[in-house]
Subunit: 244 residues, 2 copies
């Protein structure tokens, strides 16, 4: 598959390590983020929900389960990833679920050491998502938030998976492996993807040669934040892990 | 110091994790690297020496201790970092050594969560460097190479320190903390800095808001490389560590 790899950039603002340290205040305006890509995922100020960005349209699933169409370009985000779709490798996947994505798919496409974007559309037999509830200052750690997040299930739903694969060595910076969000075609069901299965999905894969990692260097909390390296990877795995 | 932070980019090609896995073949041409910055550090194909790039001039210290002025823009590098100096914070440091840089300096400039470039010039009382010897295929791991590297000492020498600070969470990707090289003003003594002390150095600090991490996604060895996450950080610390 490598012959078709696009040479392109994944833009990421903020790090999971900083969220883990409790820096959940927004540090980039949505309008500034969208200059770097039309498609992606993220969360809003205070870890307020799960964000899905498709073709420049921004959706936010909040912890009640409601999905908002966000048009306020001043809204701030502490952590988000976007890219410009280009040179896509077209995909058709049968009997799709996380076990397949985590296993054979990564091997076949030689993803383990690269960043890649995945977009899959179709009818899902079953989808389970979680949605981060908005936090107030003083912020807890991401791990504390992750332990009390509402989950939602939807069966027989048309929708789209969008998100990224990151190499294990970047697992302190972003979520290693797959970090995927889901949104239904009717834009009424969305969140951070925990489980799914579908008989047939179509979509595309984009391998990046560059990670453009942007850090909020002017943010006092970011500069002073204490990252506990000893527990970081374990905490991220517990907070961001997907079920197989 | 944050009010003076420049908003700029550190460009890095390759990762320490990939070197650690034994992928030491060059994957970017020097000429391509220099498009991203005039100043930096790195190594050549086969881990051949320690590279110092100052104002577009490229020097390579090889393991005999000799320093070459490199003008072959086709020469390939497996790992290198460069930047374009801009909006520099001017520095004067008295009684400079690694203990100072690792301690008070990082605290005063709030560097622990950011990438930064450091350039310091002056008369050094003492400098100790190491120089990686060129490896042949099949390549060993970086750790094996690091255990048998020649070191060189020079006292009372005029020269320049150039290199980078990286946050701990990027310690699987690049060298966490300081990764500094040294070159004498007469361009006859250079290498990876292990020890130094100087009564007074002057120079500049540049804080980056962006890491542009470029990966050799078309390189088969990179795509297939096996990274041992369990031992990676420890191996990098042993290979890249600086003496205090």
């Amino acid at each position: 598959m490598k012959g078709n790899d696009s040479i392109s950039t994944l833009y990421e603002h903020g790090t999971l390590a900083s969220l883990m340290a409790g820096n959940m205040a927004g540090t980039i305006a949505l309008g500034d983020l969208l200059k770097h890509g039309s498609t992606g995922i993220g969360t809003f100020d205070g870890l307020d929900g799960e964000v899905i960005i498709l073709d420049g349209e921004v959706y936010q699933a909040v912890s009640s389960g409601q999905v908002n169409h966000v048009t306020n370009m001043q809204a701030k985000m502490p952590f988000a990833s976007v890219h410009q779709p280009a040179d896509l490798q077209k995909l058709t996947i049968n009997d799709a679920n996380f076990a397949l994505l985590n296993g054979d798919f990564v091997g076949q496409h030689e993803l383990k050491n690269v960043f890649a974007a995945l977009r899959l559309k179709g009818e899902f037999n079953h989808v389970k998502v979680r949605i981060a509830p908005k936090q107030e200052e003083p912020y807890p750690s991401l791990l504390e938030v992750a332990q009390g997040q509402p989950t939602f299930v939807c069966d027989h739903v048309q929708g789209t998976i969008i998100g990224y694969y990151a190499p294990a060595i970047f697992g302190s910076v972003t979520a290693a492996g797959w970090h995927l969000h889901f949104i239904s075609d009717d834009r009424e069901f969305a969140g951070h993807l925990l489980e799914f299965n579908a008989a047939k999905l179509t979509g595309d894969l984009q391998v990046f040669d560059t990670l453009e990692q942007h850090l909020p260097v002017a943010d006092e909390a970011f500069r002073k934040g204490e990252v506990d390296m000893a527990t970081l990877r374990d905490s991220i795995a517990k907070s961001e892990g997907n079920a197989d």
